[in-house]
Each structure stands twice: as structure tokens, then as C-alpha cells.
């Protein structure tokens, strides 16, 4: 099966976000990057699918050449080749232009199934996966927590606010991956050494103007410090009053 896993490189979880002086974007100086958490699950699912059904896994990303590091990690964990759609202004792309560029490449690769994280942990849009499926005209199941794939169809369970929904779909399809789908493996030394010999291709990303424009970026306001209203059972009355009259949540 021709399997594609889409990943995004995002700032490390512990990064302290800083806004640039012009208030238009985040200051990326000194920021270190990692593969987005959910995308690691997508890569693992892609490799598991290859192990079950055979085929090849291509890891695909839009970003700067520096993303080679994240691609190599995916190759060390069992993917076969990597492609970086290079775009130095990758961070400014909106979801639509990202999805469109990815769709063009997936089509060219002849992909049969695409795995992506449910959302990237930097912007949290959760949009690129479904948009990609729309441009490709493929089936799409998002937030998947359980998956059974066969050569031409599959069954996926997804988590929604209403409960767990089960879908049957035919391939090709785009699957976006939720936390419980699998436990990503460690690369292992053999994987790291093997990854060096696997190909990583860099091609310019298809030009596509963004339709959404970031007007302003600001950090969330600092939260007010909490207040202890009392201790033990005696505090109940004070707490009730505060919840009713100050917080007005009761």
C-alpha cells in the first residue's frame, strides 16, 4: 500500500511563547522544534499499516530544510522516505494553502491512505487533515482511536462529544489520529543507523496564497492569583457566597 504520513514540526512543548515586536507572529529565535505529538501517532499508525499490509511509508511535511531532523526521526521509527515541501514562509501559510500543497503532492505520489495528527500542537486548528481529504475528494475520518484497515476499505472508531462513533469507509482515505490510537515506538539504534541511508527529498511547495491573514498575535492575559477563602468545613459558606456573588457561576 502506498501510505503517506503528514507531519508538522512545532516548537518544543516547554517553549515559552514570545510575540514579535510588530505583534504579527511568534518570535522564533532560540526556539527548538519537535514533531507534533499527534503526528507521531500518525507516523506510528502508518508504519503499523505497512507492517500489516505491506507497502511503503512516505513522510511528508511543509517547512524549512531544517525539518530534516524531524523527518529523520520518523525514518528511524520505520518510515521509508521523506519529502519536505520547502517554504521558508511555512509558518505564515493558512490551513487551506497548506492542505492544497499537500494534496498536490499526495496525488503525485499516488497515495492510497494518508495519516495525519488530529491537530498540530502549535496552532491547534485541526483543519488541515479534513481539508486535505476535501481537495483529494477522499473519505475522511477524524480523531480516530481505533482502526482496522484492509487493502481497499477500513473501519474506524472516532471519539466525539456524543460518544464513540464507528465508521466504515473505502480507500483512499485521510485518517486523523487521536491520542489512544497507538503508542509510538522508540527509534532504536538500528533504526537511527538505517535512517541515514533512507532518502529525504526537498522540493519547493506549490505556491498558494493564503486567504486567512494573521492580523494580531497576543499572549493570553495573565491569570489572576487565586484566593483562599477559609479552611475546613467553615469555609463552605464563604465559598458558596463567593461562587454566587463574585464568580456568579451558581
Amino acid at each position: 500500500m502506498n501510505i503517506v504520513a503528514c507531519i508538522k514540526r512545532v516548537p518544543m512543548t516547554e517553549t515559552q511563547a514570545k510575540v514579535t515586536a510588530d505583534g504579527q507572529s511568534l518570535d522564533t529565535s532560540g526556539v527548538e522544534y519537535m514533531t507534533s505529538f499527534y503526528d507521531e501517532i500518525a507516523v506510528e499508525e502508518a508504519v503499523k499499516t505497512k507492517e500489516k499490509l505491506g507497502g511503503e511509508v512516505t513522510v511528508l511535511t511543509i517547512g524549512p530544510s531544517d525539518a530534516t531532523k524531524q523527518i529523520r526521526e520518523c525514518l528511524a521509527k520505520g518510515s521509508d522516505k521523506g519529502i519536505i515541501l520547502t517554504d521558508d514562509a511555512w509558518a505564515l501559510r493558512d490551513c487551506r494553502s497548506t492542505a492544497k500543497a499537500l494534496a498536490a503532492k499526495v496525488q503525485e505520489l499516488g497515495g492510497e491512505v494518508v495519516f495525519a495528527g488530529r491537530q498540530a500542537t502549535d496552532r491547534d486548528n485541526a483543519s488541515v487533515g479534513p481539508m486535505l481529504a476535501t481537495y483529494l475528494g477522499w473519505a475522511c475520518v477524524t480523531d480516530v482511536i481505533e482502526l482496522e484497515l484492509e487493502a481497499d476499505k477500513g473501519v474506524a472508531k472516532r471519539e466525539s462529544e456524543a460518544g464513540v462513533e464507528t465508521y466504515e469507509f473505502s480507500l483512499p482515505a485521510v485518517i486523523t489520529c487521536q491520542k489512544d490510537l497507538n503508542e509510538p515506538r522508540y527509534a532504536g539504534l538500528k533504526g537511527i543507523m538505517a535512517a541515514k541511508k533512507k532518502p529525504v527529498e526537498e522540493v519547493p511547495a506549490a505556491e498558494e496564497a493564503s486567504q486567512a491573514e494573521v492580523v494580531r498575535v497576543e499572549l493570553p492575559p495573565a491569570r489572576k492569583e487565586g484566593r483562599v477563602v477559609g479552611e475546613g468545613p467553615d469555609a463552605v459558606e464563604a465559598l458558596m457566597t463567593a461562587l454566587q456573588t463574585e464568580a456568579k457561576v451558581l
Binding site: K69, R72, E73, A76, Y186, A187, G188, L189, K190, I192, M193, A195, K196
Partner: protein, 544 residues
């Protein structure tokens, strides 16, 4: 100036600076650097999930799934060549792995270093192609874990005093008898590098202690090797999870091809293994030091006294800044030496020894200060400070006590001078390739090298060949040489053409140089007015 190379550290005693050994900073190629980073990152990720250092310390054992995890990741074969099933990584990847494991758990890294650093190192260094084929694949997969068995009850620092014997049998096999103590990995290993006295074919009747030492590989465990016994786990102050036991041999027969290296050359085999193992120890110390620093910084920022975070107090800042500078220097010297090994820039025995002494002593100071910053909380067993401190203590003892290493280093450094004072440099030495804004540090370094040469000359003149017994003198000269080597490493690190250090890094490096120069001067000042005679008198009366 002669073109003869003495090795970087040895040349310092002569007032010479062999700049080309350290400048430009010896970085292995980009591929090797990337591998080292990937290995370290993989280990960090795994270790955070799989290793509970506190549990290991409390249980006094490393659970089977941690060892199994290391096997699955392929760690036991990290430096074993690919043709024997390993990953074939160089020294940089090895020290990166050590640091990453150690940053999580000192007991676990001991198993790893006991295996790769000393347990099986002899096979890599001295094994024949057949021996490598016979043993390395199972060691690379971790099916067999290795241990290094040199020390005996009466042969510690004086390892050459060992009494274990290996006698040849008529069929060419060997019969081993003796008892080894404090063997790292003793309880989990099934391959031992063992050192024993063998009869001298030239002089078969020689008394035991005059017989030469040979190295052997014993492959097997007490279950399948009659005569091999492994003692109960020792109760230790630190590294409680790592297995340390006695290993005994009673009329144990091993095949002819168990002999490692040339017969009678075993002591050289042992010393060369230890010389290489010692370098790894400094990476282990860096890992633990970074852990202590992380805890101390977090506590200093969070803990408020007198209405402000304690991080704002000058005396806390002294401790924090000191540990940051020391860790920078530990890392610089360990990486410099790794690069020299990987790039084959000459001899590294004394360089690795400097790394070991500096890192082990700085680590002790760093964990002590981390605990001090944390105050009463640090003293509680609920927190990891006391464990880190206990684990750190052994580093100044094993793979050569820091006293024995100072004797060795001082003696080696003085040797050319004892032979001929003409070996001293006639011109003022220069360190080439230093970045411009480190001109002050460079000038201090160069002048201290000249001071070391003067002090060395003085010791050589006063003691001649007996200099090797002038222990307080050897200690002071070693202290000076350690400070200089580490300082050279810091200067080389910031001066590397590949490096683009920010101002904050340069400040840390400057502070490191200043502290190293101060430590040099402390030792140098002591030579002006030493208490040697007085101390010898007092100690003699105490021990009369």
C-alpha cells in the same frame, strides 16, 4: 622548537602548547554529530518513560524490563562494529549516550558503562578476528552482558598485586583460581574479562608475585561453568541498583582461545581498557551534574524567603553560576577528548584522566551545592538530592582513585624533564586559533603554562628520579595541569569556527576560565610555602 609531539597535556609540563591537538575544536563530521544527537534524544525519551531512578535506588536492583528496554533499543551494541551486529558508533555517540542515561539514573548508566566501557572493551582492543566473531554478536544484542574483573581484596589501586592464577593444562586449556571483588555487573554478566597470573615459560619456577599477568575472557555463568561463583550483591552507599559482587574461580577450566591479547601482556591490556573507560566516566558525571543543576535552579526560582525568591541572593547565585560554569567546562573537556579520539589527534591517556578527575570532583561539589540550595528539603530522602550525592561519591574512587591518577599523571608529565631538563620549551608558548574576544583568557592560559613548566622544573630538579614518590608535589602539578587542560577545552569550544556562541554562553565560558585559573593559582601558591614536611610528621605520629 622540536617537531616531536608529547601529547597535549604532557607538553604542558614542558611549557609547550600543542595547539593543533585542540584547535580547531575537533568536531567529528556532521553525520557522526547527528547520530550522537539522535541517540541521546532517543535515550532521553525512553529513559523518561521507562526508568524510575528512585525506585531503582530503593529496590536496590534494576528491573528486568529496563535491561530489556536497553536491549530492544540496541544500546548494548552502540560502539560494537556493524559487522558484529552493533551500531558501530564512535566516542562522541558513546559519551552522548552515557550522559543521556546518567541524566536519568546513575545506577542504570553503570550497567551500560560496565558493559561497553570496560567489560567488553578488551575484546574490541585486543581480540583476534575469530574472538570478535565468537563473542561480539551476543554482546552487541545484549544477550550477554559483560563485566571487567581486575580488582582483588589485596589489589585495589595496586592492581598489579593481584593473586588470581591461570595455569595451562596439557590440552592447552587454562585452569583459573582466585577471587575478584567489587565487580560491576557481577550478578548479571555472563562474560567476564579476567586478569590472572600465568607461569613465565622462560622461568617456570618463579614465585607467584613475579609471574606475568595475562588477560582472559570467561564466557558463561555459574549455571553452565563449573568452578565459577558469583557472590551476593554488595550493600553500597550509592549506585544501589547496579550489581556489584564478588566473582570466584575454583579450578575453573576455560579453553585455550580464552586468552585475550598476548600471554604475559595482561597488565597492559587492563591499563588500556581503564584508560579508555575513564573518559566515559566524565560523561556520566556531566549527566548527573545537569540533573542536579536542573533541580537546584527550579528550587531557587520557586522558593521564597524574606519575601523574595532565593535565586536573587548573592550566595545562592554564586553556587548556581559556579555549577553552570563547571558543567560547561566538564562538557567542553569531555567533548574535546572525544573529538581527539574520533579524529585520531594523537594520544589521549592523560587528557581522559584530566576529564575524569575534573568531572568527578566538580560533580561532587555541584550535588553538594544543589542540596545546600535546597536546604532542609534537600536532606529529606523524599527528594532526589541525597541519592544524587550518594551516587556521585564512587566516581572519585573507581577506574583509578583520583589520588592514584594524580600520581600517574604527575609522574608521566615529569618524565621527559627527569631525563633531560632540555625538554623545557625555550620560547614563550602560544595557543593559536583563539577568538579575539578571548584574548585575555588566552594570555592567562599561556602564562599559566609557563608557570606549570617552572614548577615542574623545580620538582624535577629537587627530586630527580625520586619525583614519582613526591606525592604532594605530584598532586599540585596535576591540579595545575587539570585546570589548564580544561581551560584549553573551554577556550577551544568557544573558538570553534562552527560555533556561534551567544553572549550568555560566552559569559559562562569566561566564568569557567576564571574559576579554572583560580584553581590553578591555589595549587601554584601552595608550592611557595608547602606544609609537606609538617604534614608528614603529624601523619606519621598519628599512624605510628
Amino acid at each position: 622548537m622540536t617537531a616531536q609531539s608529547f601529547g597535549f597535556v604532557r607538553s604542558l609540563f614542558l611549557g609547550r602548547i600543542e595547539s593543533s591537538a585542540v584547535m580547531p575544536f575537533p568536531h567529528p563530521d556532521a553525520d557522526a554529530q547527528e547520530t550522537a544527537e539522535s541517540v541521546a534524544e532517543m535515550i532521553r525519551e525512553w529513559a523518561a518513560d521507562a526508568i524510575d531512578p528512585d525506585q531503582i535506588d530503593r529496590d536496590k536492583t534494576i528491573s528486568a524490563d529496563v535491561i530489556e528496554g536497553m536491549r530492544e533499543l540496541g544500546l548494548f551494541g552502540l560502539t560494537i562494529p556493524e559487522e558484529f551486529g552493533g551500531a558501530g558508533c564512535g566516542q562522541l555517540a558513546y559519551i552522548s549516550a552515557l550522559e543521556a542515561i546518567s541524566n536519568r539514573c546513575a545506577s542504570t548508566v553503570t550497567v551500560f558503562a560496565g558493559h561497553l566501557g570496560i567489560g567488553m572493551k578488551g575484546i574490541l582492543l585486543y581480540g583476534t578476528p575469530e574472538q570478535k566473531q565468537m563473542w561480539l554478536p551476543a554482546l552487541a544484542s545484549g544477550e550477554q552482558i559483560a563485566a571487567f574483573a581486575l580488582t582483588e581484596a589485596c589489589a585495589g589501586s595496586d592492581a598489579g598485586a593481584l593473586r588470581t592464577t591461570a595455569d595451562p593444562e596439557p590440552d592447552g586449556s587454562w585452569k583459573l583460581n582466585g577471587r575478584k571483588v567489587w565487580i560491576t555487573n557481577g550478578g548479571i554478566a555472563s562474560l567476564f574479562t579476567v586478569f590472572a597470573r600465568t607461569p613465565d615459560p622462560e622461568n617456570p619456577g618463579a614465585p607467584l608475585m613475579d609471574r606475568p599477568i595475562s588477560a582472559f575472557v570467561v564466557s558463561g555463568s555459574p549455571d553452565d561453568l563449573p568452578g565459577l561463583s558469583v557472590g551476593a550483591p554488595e550493600l553500597k552507599m550509592g549506585l544501589c541498583g547496579s550489581s556489584t559482587t564478588e566473582v570466584g574461580f575454583e579450578d575453573m577450566v576455560i579453553p585455550a582461545d580464552a586468552l585475550l591479547g598476548e600471554r604475559g601482556q595482561g597488565f597492559k591490556v587492563a591499563l588500556n581498557i581503564l584508560n579508555s573507560g575513564r573518559h566515559g566516566l566524565s560523561a556520566c558525571c556531566t549527566g548527573q551534574a545537569k540533573l542536579a543543576r536542573k533541580l537546584a535552579v527550579a528550587h531557587a526560582k520557586e522558593r521564597e524567603q524574606f519575601g523574595v525568591p532565593i535565586a536573587s541572593f548573592g550566595m545562592i547565585q554564586e553556587m548556581l553560576a559556579g555549577m553552570d560554569a563547571d558543567i560547561y567546562a566538564m562538557e567542553a573537556s569531555t567533548k574535546l577528548t572525544a573529538g581527539m579520539i574520533d579524529l585520531g589527534r594523537g594520544e589521549t591517556m592523560l587528557e581522559a584522566t584530566c576529564c575524569k578527575m575534573y568531572a568527578t570532583e566538580r560533580l561532587w561539589d555541584i550535588c553538594n551545592n544543589a542540596l545546600q540550595i535546597t536546604g532542609g528539603t534537600g536532606f529529606m530522602r523524599e527528594y532526589p538530592y541525597e541519592r544524587i550525592l550518594r551516587d556521585a561519591r564512587i566516581n572519585m574512587i573507581f577506574e583509578g582513585t583520583n589520588q592514584v591518577l594524580r600520581m600517574m599523571m604527575g609522574t608521566q608529565g615529569l618524565r621527559p624533564l627527569v631525563k633531560d631538563l632540555g625538554a623545557l620549551a625555550s620560547d614563550a608558548p602560544t595557543l593559536d586559533g583563539v577568538r579575539e574576544d578571548f584574548a585575555d583568557e588566552r594570555a592567562v592560559f599561556e602564562s599559566l603554562v609557563t608557570t606549570l613548566a617552572e614548577k615542574s622544573r623545580d620538582v624535577a630538579e629537587r627530586h630527580g628520579k625520586a619525583a614519582r614518590n613526591a606525592q604532594p608535589d605530584l598532586r599540585r602539578l596535576s591540579d595545575m595541569a587539570i585546570a589548564l587542560y580544561v581551560m584549553a577545552a573551554v577556550i577551544a569550544r568557544v573558538s570553534s569556527p562552527d560555533a556561534t556562541p551567544e553572549e550568555s554562553e560566552l559569559n559562562v565560558a569566561r566564568l569557567a576560565c576564571s574559576r579554572l585559573a583560580r584553581s590553578f593559582q591555589t595549587a601554584a601558591a601552595e608550592t611557595e610555602n608547602p606544609d609537606d614536611e609538617l604534614m608528614a610528621k603529624v601523619a606519621s605520629e598519628m599512624t605510628a
